[in-house]
């Protein structure tokens, strides 16, 4: 049972760190959102791995509640980021178009 917990926790940690670093480095909006979501999932995997108590035993419910909250918060944040990004492109295109017309 220990290897499974450690294996998943290690994968979670790996994904969390790589997702975070990619999130900091990337420049396109969608790329950064994907990276942040992935590092979030990595972190949740770490949490759930910690809660894992063996194949048929009931796992520890508290981290599960935390991860559930985390998932909902992640989708809320990504939704807001995408909406801001969409309005930003709209503003940029309209300003280009205005420059385009006026010049």
């Amino acid at each position: 049972m220990e290897q499974a917990q450690l294996m998943f926790a290690a994968t979670g940690a790996l994904i969390f760190v790589f997702g975070l670093v990619a999130g900091l480095r990337d420049d396109s909006l969608l790329g950064r959102i994907i990276a942040i979501n992935i590092s979030g999932v990595g972190l949740f995997l770490l949490l759930v791995a910690l809660a894992y108590r063996g194949l048929c035993q009931a796992a520890d419910p508290i981290p599960h509640a935390l991860v559930l909250t985390g998932i909902v918060v992640a989708v809320a944040a990504s939704g807001l980021a995408i909406a801001i990004g969409r309005k930003l492109d709209e503003l940029r295109n309209s300003s280009h178009r205005r420059e385009g017309d006026s010049s």
Binding site: F16, L20, G23, L24, L29, R32, I33, I36, S39, G40, L43, L46, L47, L50, I62, P63, L66, T69, G70, V73, A76, A77, L80, A81, I84, G85, K87, L88, L91, R92, S95
Partner: protein, 486 residues
């Protein structure tokens, strides 16, 4: 008295819902709610000295299982700061946004930000702090986009949001490690449990780096100037005065209460060094800024640097009242900076709305047209620089004397250079404002007086109020120094 905690924590949420459900009533409701919140927080602060800390177990469950709302003097004073700045900026926002549609969009988000602030200050559970930090980051980013028609405002808000998310994820990783090692998330229980081990060191680093992104310490500060300067004035006032401060409050909790065995003096000196760099670099950038709001944002960076410089000093001081004096001064500097910065941003907002721009060189003649605002800006400037009549002067005096007492005199040098630089950029603004009107400036109608009073109210409070009535800060703190509660 614990129902007071419940009122403070839930009132903003209820107001947010009310403003969402009945937008037209938003204006009056917001004023009334911010007044109630102010009264409640004053009651909280007056109630605190008699009992070291109040707590309210939510859902009736013991803290190990459920979450507890708690407030000790440190949190009490910051709740009062939030309520005060919230009251003034709500009054100001009421008149700042003339277009009613923008106001109806503002109020729900405004009160969600407020509920995040109060929930964070009163919460006693690590994961609950993560959720409040997330709510704080999201509502602040959403507020930056209200009424923003320009592309760079949205860009700054987006960068702020994404970096906030990364910060929260780092924080959550730290929480995960703490939970894995100690099995509980309750702050008061962890205070006794945490001992120095590789896992708690890793969680300290994760928690601290996450929060340092949120309060823009030097290497991770790039998002702050753009975000705070492009947001509308009342929003950037709250961002600079409260949101950054509350993240610092969490860091204080971590370093001085939870992870005291883990925090080594090298770690504290590193924090102090970053703070010192922030002070110098922030004031230098503020001096070279061409726009008022950018100047104010950079001055936030440098003022936060002072707070970080306090950390190694308080860490080095031995137990007893010298440490208590430094800790009280740290709190006083945080409160006085919060009030003064909010006044400064509101003043700048009135100037911008009146002149149509906020370039420093074209400020000529505004002193004659907006005397009240200029007086508020100069008073706020005095409080920010830390010149005598203000509470910040007491805090700077304490910073210098405790840096000497603790033998780390180099922090004193940084403080002096920072004060001079801060005075330089304040003088630059006042000099430009007192200059005669350049002929080119169109004569604009004088601004509505109601728009200028909140700024003046806060500025006067920061200088004379905190200057002369600052001793209660030490009295309440000395009754229950955080370390003794162990």
């Amino acid at each position: 008295m614990s129902s007071l905690l419940v009122l403070i924590a839930t009132l903003p949420l209820m107001t947010a819902l009310a403003c969402l459900l009945h937008p037209r009533g938003g204006d009056q409701l917001s004023l009334v709610a911010s007044m109630i919140q102010l009264v409640a927080s004053v009651l909280l602060v007056t109630e605190l000295p008699s009992r070291s800390s109040l707590s309210h177990a939510l859902g009736g469950w013991a803290p190990g299982l459920g979450i507890a709302l708690g407030a000790d003097p440190l949190a009490g004073w910051l709740v009062l700061l939030c309520a005060l700045v919230q009251f003034a900026t709500t009054l100001y926002a009421r008149f700042y946004f003339c277009d009613s549609q923008a106001r109806y969009r503002l109020w729900p988000l405004w009160w969600l930000l407020a509920s995040a602030l109060y929930a964070l200050l009163l919460s006693g559970d690590l994961f609950n702090l993560y959720v409040t930090l997330e709510l704080l980051g999201l509502s602040a980013a959403a507020l930056c986009t209200v009424g923003a028609a320009k592309a760079e405002a949205l860009e700054a808000a987006l960068r702020y949001l994404l970096l906030g998310l990364i910060g929260s994820l780092l924080y959550l990783a730290g929480v995960a490690l703490v939970y894995a090692e100690y099995g509980t998330l309750d702050v008061s229980a962890l205070r006794t449990l945490i001992s120095s081990s590789p896992a708690s060191l890793a969680s300290l680093v994760l928690l601290s780096s996450g929060l340092m992104i949120k309060c823009a310490l030097v290497p991770l500060h790039f998002w702050l100037p753009a975000a705070h300067s492009s947001a509308p004035a009342p929003v950037s006032a709250v961002l600079s005065a409260l949101v950054v401060k509350v993240a610092f409050y969490l860091l204080l909790r971590l370093w001085f209460e939870l992870f005291t065995p883990v925090v080594t003096s090298a770690f504290a000196t590193l924090i102090g060094l970053l703070g010192a760099i922030a002070v110098i670099w922030g004031s230098w950038q503020a001096f070279r800024a061409t726009r008022l709001k950018l100047l104010a944002a950079y001055s936030t960076l440098s003022q936060m640097g002072y707070l970080f410089m306090f950390v190694p000093i308080v860490m080095a001081l031995p137990e007893g009242d010298t440490r208590q004096f430094a800790y009280g001064a740290l709190l006083l500097l945080a409160v006085s900076h919060g009030i003064a910065k909010a006044a400064l941003f509101m003043g700048i907002g009135s100037l911008q709305q009146h002149l149509g721009h906020d370039e420093i060189d074209r400020l000529g003649g505004s002193a004659r047209k907006l005397p009240v605002t200029l007086f508020a800006i100069s008073l706020a400037g005095v409080a920010l620089v830390g010149l005598p009549p203000s509470g910040a002067f007491l805090a700077k005096w304490a910073l210098i004397s405790s840096s000497l007492v603790s033998g780390q005199w180099w922090w004193m040098l940084v403080t002096l250079v920072g004060t001079l630089l801060a005075a330089a950029y304040l003088v630059r603004v006042l000099g430009a404002a007192f200059a005669p009107t350049a002929a080119a400036e169109p004569a604009l109608p004088t601004c509505r007086l109601a728009l200028q009073q909140p700024a003046l109210l806060l500025a006067v409070l920061a200088t004379f109020g905190l200057g002369f009535a600052a001793s209660p800060v030490w009295d309440t703190l000395s009754l229950s120094p955080p370390e003794v509660q162990r």
